[in-house]
């Protein structure tokens, strides 16, 4: 079972969130750029992928929110293809202002 969790913060910048997540999970992020997504931070460990994106980025090619259902969250964290979603969620709970927003699962 693979889990895909979406987190969001209303109070942290993407850079600050990358630093905080890197600290609690012991990983490192790389800054990347996509015209579809805009500037974002990316980390991978095995199958697990973590991406920190700007929900509302006016200069993105497509002028829209990445997650319109969570419009009041400026910065998003996606934890994808993980099999230890709850463990990660517990650790990320140490980061003030970071909320768990959604979970999807795939067999």
């Amino acid at each position: 079972m693979k889990y895909y969790d979406l987190y969001g913060t209303r109070v942290m910048s993407a850079g600050n969130l990358a630093g905080a997540v890197a600290s609690v999970l012991g990983i490192s992020f790389n800054a990347r750029d996509s015209q579809f997504v805009g500037p974002y931070f990316h980390a991978a460990s095995g199958d697990e992928i973590l991406d920190i994106e700007l929900n509302d980025f006016p200069d993105r090619d497509e002028d829209e929110l990445l997650e319109p259902d969570f419009a009041d969250y400026q910065v998003l964290l996606r934890v994808s293809r993980t099999e230890r979603a709850d463990e990660i969620r517990n650790r990320l709970g140490e980061i003030p202002g970071l909320d768990h927003l959604r979970r999807k699962t795939l067999e």
Binding site: K2, Y4, N30, A31, R32, D33, S34, Q35, F36, V37, G38, P39, H42, I49, D51, D59, R60, D61, E62, E64, L66, P68, R78, S80, R81, K104, L106
Partner: protein
């Protein structure tokens, strides 16, 4: 070719040297006179002759400065500091010379004699610094023949010579926005004519239009001579273009931005057809032989896939993984050469943005509850959960490995929806 005029800066430097020579000759005449007196020689005319030569040099200097003043005074074009370079003695002289040169250039461009064109552009390059000459030349040619000239010079150093003069003439307001619009309009008409030639039986379906562009893209040898690029969106150029600038040299290429672009696509001079909805802005790009701008904007293959074998592998992987692949495009900095937001060049941190049309996937995305955007024309950028749910995991991994960069996916309803979004390098279906 003999033109009456001078370069004020160089002529001023010559006058300075004449003044210096006059002073030196005067001083040496005095020294010689003293030596002659000391030697008891009183009959020598050497000091007087030296002073005559000094007087002549001083006269030539004054005469030269007067001519410089006349030339500069006659050159009323533009405000601010005077541009360096050659100036014609009179405006009429500049216009007469420009008319002769325009007719000659037009004839050479028409005959397609590249060597003669190179030679003529090299010969007139110094004189184009006089904006009166340059603007008279462009006006004599008119937008249509100007396009023909730029097209003929495409891929050669002369295109930058013309572009620089065109930019200067536009900046000095001797060439109007209307003239630039005319060039773009002529470019669009020519591109449309190519399209019509390839589709003599009337309107072309979306898919057919796409395939025409893709064929053109895959077989560049079929492009008409002197091709140029027509871009339907100037967004990637914005970082390079100052506010209000509509013609510029970017890297080694001439970019003309116009307000009445009417051509949608964009592959080596091929136009997919007019699209009123996209007619707000356009640009035409004439590249020189050695553009220093990142190649994505001016070359056919995407950055990171610019080697044909790699690109073919990439394309074959897409087709193999998606048997009902109907076409696609690479967008973003891999296609344009520059990042959308910052204008920085494509680099190691850049992703490959891949837009594809596959009806089955589009339907499946809808069934998965992925919310469509742009009036139902596309998905948002696919997230890992979407990629996995759509069964695209392996192809994304494979394509990322081939490209050496992560590949981001977006599903589109049609090729029209893709090209409507901006500059793209099209991927043909099998």
């Amino acid at each position: 070719m003999t033109f009456v005029g001078l370069d004020p800066d160089r002529a001023g430097a010559l006058a300075d040297r004449l003044d210096e020579a006059a002073r030196d000759l005067d001083a040496r005449a005095g020294s010689v006179a003293v030596l002659l007196v000391q030697a008891g020689i009183s009959s020598s005319t050497a000091p007087a002759e030296l002073r005559d030569v000094a007087a002549w040099a001083a006269y030539r200097s004054r005469d030269l400065r007067r001519r410089i003043d006349q030339v500069v005074a006659a050159d009323h074009i533009g405000a601010g500091p005077r541009a360096p370079g050659f100036r014609f003695a009179t405006g009429k002289g500049a216009a007469d010379a420009a008319h002769d040169v325009a007719d000659k250039l037009a004839e050479i461009a028409k005959n397609g004699d590249k060597k003669a064109l190179d030679a003529e552009l090299r010969a007139i390059a110094p004189y184009l610094s006089d904006v009166r000459f340059a603007s008279a030349l462009f006006k004599r040619l008119g937008p249509k023949r100007m396009l023909e000239l730029l097209s003929a010079a495409q891929g050669r150093p002369g295109v930058a010579v013309l572009g620089g003069a065109l930019a200067a003439a536009h900046a000095s307001k001797t060439i109007s926005d209307k003239f630039l619009d005319g060039i773009l309009e002529a470019a669009a008409k020519r591109a449309a004519a190519v399209d019509a030639y390839m589709h003599p039986y009337g309107a072309v379906s979306e898919r057919d239009r796409a395939s025409v562009a893709l064929d053109e893209y895959m077989h560049r040898a079929g492009s008409p001579p002197g091709t140029y690029k027509v871009l339907e969106s100037t967004a990637p150029l914005v970082p390079y273009l100052e506010a209000g600038t509509r013609v510029a040299i970017i890297g080694g290429a001439v970019v003309i931005v116009a307000g009445a672009g009417a051509c949608v696509v964009l592959s080596e001079g091929t136009c997919l057809g007019p699209a009123a909805a996209l007619a707000e802005q356009g640009a035409v790009v004439f590249s020189s032989e050695d553009p220093s701008l990142a190649t994505g904007l001016f070359e056919t293959l995407p950055l990171s896939l610019e080697d044909e074998a790699t690109f073919s592998r990439f394309l074959e992987s897409v087709r193999a993984a998606l048997p009902s692949f109907q076409g696609g495009a690479i967008r973003g900095s891999s296609a344009t050469g520059v990042k959308w937001v910052t204008g920085e060049p494509f680099d190691d941190a850049s992703d490959i943005d891949l837009a594809i049309v596959v009806d089955q996937l589009f339907t499946k995305a809808e069934e998965l509850g992925i919310k469509f955007r742009s009036g139902g024309g596309r998905t948002p950028p696919l997230q890992p959960a979407d990629i996995d749910a759509l069964g695209l995991t392996d192809v994304v991994t494979e394509l990322s490995e081939i490209a050496g960069h992560p590949v981001k996916f977006m599903l589109y309803r049609s090729m029209d929806d893709i090209v409507a979004r901006g500059p793209a390098i099209l991927l043909p279906k099998a």
